[in-house]
Amino acid sequence: MGQYTENELAKDLENQDYKFGFVTDVETEKIPVGLNEDIIRLISSKKEEPKWLLDYRINAYRTWLTMTEPEWAHVRYQKPDFQNITYYAAPKQTKKYESWDDVDPEMKETMGKLGISMEEQKRLTGVAVDFVMDSVSVATSFKSKLKELGIIFCSFSEAVQEYPELVREHMGTIIPHTDNFYAALNAAVFTDGSFCYIPKGVRCPMELSTYFRINAGGTGQFERTLVIADEGAYVSYLEGCTAPQRDENQLHAAVVELKALKDAEIKYSTVQNWYPGDKNGIGGVFNFVTKRGLCETNAKISWTQVETGSAVTWKYPSCILKGDHAVGEFYSVAVTNNYQQADTGTKMIHLGKNTKSTIISKGISAGDSQNSYRGLVQIHKNAHKSRNFSQCDSLLMTDHCGAHTFPYIECKNPTAQIEHEATTSKIGEDQLFYCKQRGISEEKAISLIVNGYCKEVLNQLPMEFAVEAQKLLAISLEGSVG
């Protein structure tokens, strides 16, 4: 984080509005609005999918029809009209790019504006990127270099074509389509996403990253990500998200499945900055996401998320600690401002012996927003000597926002050790005054205090993302003390 100077921060703060609110002018191919089995067949045929996958989708759709939208979260919103969404929107010219030069210039410009660099030779740091716009993956960099190590990193659609056995073997095994309403919907209509496989004993030499972008209006984004780390493998994976500024509420219902086999480690980081809606709470993305990872013996999954965007967030990246000695971690910063609502947290399911989990959650509420932590720590009866440590802190920036904590603990093994700490504090006028007396402006003081408050989480992010996240926090909380 050291490279990022305060001057740069100040410069970024000048541009305090949502800076990713633009729309790319590319021709978009959309299918008819609405949802039924024909639509699903159409999506599947567009993607030239094998029959098993179509069957999977139809099955999920039929399950979804029997389900109801969950209402237990501490959020209020107008439920989406699922018949009024276009489930497939793709920038035209979706034929495979042979090289970077084939990519539409508009698209290149979009990536430029989003700060994504795909030109491998120009990149200084090793981050391979898969760029997903609306329903399809647009480009993936460093693919061939990764392939030399046996690492597969490609769009989900490509994986279905190229590695159907791998996809079929793992997809839906961690989050079955019956898991919940949005997971079922995603299983029925998902259009693309990222796929990643790290072979046995391979340590992925660069950060893998997917950038999700909603561009077209009237659409939803339903992507699926599947990351498999084979025995002893290691991978660090990042995802970033933005969307244009619109009055409508766009739906984003993603599914992310992680599988860490014996001795493997997956580090999954998210910087979520979907359009949050305007100051009066109009528009913004509904972010209803299911994320879960499975840890076999001695494996480790670490979720880190910085959530600043979306009008409504409903998201609980979880770990199933199936194998003995498995480790699960969840580090989260969730910021809500204006009328944003977030209900986020994690589930740590301890099945194996000596499993260990850590939860560090930092909620920051500003404006009239509502910010909830919801977590479950479940120790099953065979999970001898398992341990959990949870820390949930809430920071209030105004006196009309809300912070809530819903921690659930279920313990069926007497040898387990569970610790839970929680604090709620208001950003101190005294802290601000102290900073100002030393010559530090209010905006910078807030950014300093908030970043300090989130430090434990931000430290978990890879360097590049940590800087982004720092800026994002400052921008999200601009002028928010009151």
Partner: protein, 251 residues
Amino acid sequence: MIEIINLHANIEGKEILKGLTLTVKAGEVHAIMGPNGAGKSTLASILAGREEYEITSGEVTFEGADLLELSTEERAHLGLFLAFQYPVEIPGVSNVNFLRTAINEIREAKGEDSISAKEFMAMVREKSKIVELDSKLASRSVNEGFSGGEKKRNEIFQMAMLNPKLAVLDETDSGLDIDALRIVAKGVNTLKSADNASIVITHYQRLLDYIVPDFVHVLHDGKIVKTGNKELALELEEKGYDWIKEETQVG
């Protein structure tokens, strides 16, 4: 350096300062003493720019500028420093990061370039010695988990780093043992020069055994009622404040 003329100030409708007048010139050390509730800390807060106070009349000129028109940070940029009576903890923000930010903000306000990392670290090493501050404290979060004495030493360390024109020390001696007191005083004395000045606010005389003031003022009921030299402080120590109160009432 600073000229305070007939300053009146309220908090929540209650008048605390009732016509305070004080002039401090470069190179001088002024001590302000007085009983509890006299308005000592109010004066410090108003000079630093706390917003809870309402200034009803009076003028304050600092380095040629109308101080009361300036924001807290602008005052700091001009070289006003307040050593807090109760230094605030800022978890997760390292002391060095905090100070580097402050120094660069002040430099930027003056149109100067940011301090280089090398120059900054050299300065940290040099200045932390003045207050015998463990270099580990410099990299820890601002005041978090510091003992009372460490917090006060950290205030003086920050003062040394920021090199202010005018330092206001608000009861810096409160809660200090004799060793910490000596270290803090040594810091203040080391930093003293012909170009800067300090206002030392204290309830007790003992700090003035270590920091020798050029002037001692007694603040009572929102006004400076008596001004003298070091001898006055000793007299107050011996006799308490009651005779001042009586004298004022009679007067």
